[in-house]
């Protein structure tokens, strides 16, 4: 999963401090793997350097200064490009796909379009494997079958998510 894109997506709803970003990330996507503070600050410095975020304000306090980050136009374009580009079909994509769907809903983009594009990419790969299987020997067939079953499982998840988009939208925007 791209932490940079996810943090950028979370910034689309408004400027936040690094700490708020970590909290929002952990709450929505980090159930098993919460972010370390170090990851947030190193990611934000990279995004800042690349012009995808800017400093919206600095608050001085008793501790270290607290920077508030805002997404730039280039940052919004970058999130848009990431969401619109299908993932290469491979095992264990769930967390990336889940993140993309939730971010699309949070930023009021068309999540069903994202799912359709991903389905098409998965089917493209399944067609290649099916063709290879038809021309191959038994070993080829078994290897392709293994990959096909995994892709099929992803696709079933995509279909189920597509059918539950309305409920998911309610859940993520209510938090």
């Amino acid at each position: 999963m791209s932490i940079g894109h996810t943090l950028l997506g979370l910034l689309e709803s408004g400027p936040r401090h690094g700490y708020d970003l970590k909290r929002a990330f952990d709450e929505k996507f980090g159930h098993d793997r919460p972010l370390h503070y170090g990851q947030v600050y190193s990611t934000m410095s990279r995004l800042l350097k690349n012009g995808l975020v800017e400093i919206d304000g600095i608050e001085a306090g008793d501790g270290p200064e607290r920077k508030r980050y805002a997404i730039t136009e280039a940052g919004v374009t970058d999130v848009q490009r990431w969401l619109a580009t299908p993932e290469k079909p491979e095992p264990y994509l769930q967390s990336t796909l889940y993140t993309k769907v939730v971010l699309a809903l949070l930023t009021r983009r068309d999540a069903s379009e994202l799912l359709d594009t991903q389905r098409s990419e998965h089917l493209r790969m399944m067609r290649m494997l099916t063709e290879r299987k038809r021309k191959g020997d038994l070993a080829d067939q078994l290897i392709c079958d293994h990959a096909l079953f995994h892709l099929e499982a992803d696709l079933r998840w995509l279909e189920l998510t597509a059918a539950r988009l309305d409920r998911l939208a309610e859940a993520v925007t209510a938090r």
Partner: protein, 232 residues
């Protein structure tokens, strides 16, 4: 009604199809097109309208509005007997359950569409047997449908659907009642046979592994269609 111009080379084209059954909207502006020799999967969740789309394209159901052209002819301008002739001679059908006639032998089942078109029994059964060989079920010629397995019966049904050399084959969940291995074999034989005769195949399925035998997919959701090839 003015029909939109079909895409160049398209054999069967539909646009802006609407169909309601009482309060239920089955199709809400669906579109479709297919070229000769192309296999197009129609995908979507249960109740999305994919079977209604197939029935409209095949002239079994008349849409409330919209346009369907087959080989340059607007379907709405054809009368019932013209549409029926089209279904008998230019279209082939395979359904989830083979729908073979239980009283007839397998070869008589396969020969049936030719017999209905007026071909003599001997000639019809000769052609039927050649299709049964291609589908690897010629050894079942004298058996009744009740005496063969589900996978064998479905291959007999595919042979029957192709025996008239249709230009469009409509397949509605053709492997829905089969296990994985039999389903795959039916899909291999069906797509090979269709491609060898340059027939277009409209393949309704909710299974990705079946759709993987197609050239492209059209997704139907809430009665609206999305042609992924043309968008991505």
């Amino acid at each position: 009604m003015t029909s939109p111009t079909p895409p160049p080379g398209s054999l069967l084209t539909a646009s802006e199809l609407r169909k309601t059954y009482g309060p239920t909207t089955a199709l809400d502006g669906a579109a479709f097109s297919i070229h000769p020799g192309e296999v197009v999967a129609v995908m979507g969740p249960s109740g999305s309208g994919k079977s209604t789309l197939l029935h409209c394209l095949a002239g079994i159901v008349t849409p409330d509005s919209g346009s369907i052209t087959y080989d340059g002819r607007e379907m709405a301008t054809m009368n019932d007997s013209q549409r029926s002739a089209l279904r008998r001679s230019e279209f082939g059908f395979v359904f989830q359950f083979g729908q073979l006639v239980p009283e007839l032998s397998c070869v008589e089942n396969v020969a049936l569409p030719l017999r209905l078109n007026g071909t003599g029994r001997k000639e019809a059964e000769r052609i039927a047997l050649s299709w049964m060989e291609r589908l690897e079920v010629d050894d079942l010629k004298g058996k009744r449908p009740g005496e063969v397995s589900g996978g064998q019966g479905q291959r007999v049904a595919v042979a029957r659907s192709l025996v008239t050399s249709p230009r469009v084959l409509f397949a509605d969940e053709p492997t829905g009642a089969l296990d994985s291995l039999n389903g795959e074999r039916v899909m291999e034989l069906l797509t090979d046979a269709a491609r060898s005769t340059n027939a277009a195949v409209v393949l309704v399925t909710h299974e990705a592994r079946v759709a993987a035998y197609s050239d492209r997919e059209v997704v139907v959701r809430d009665g609206r269609s999305r042609d992924m090839e043309r968008i991505v």
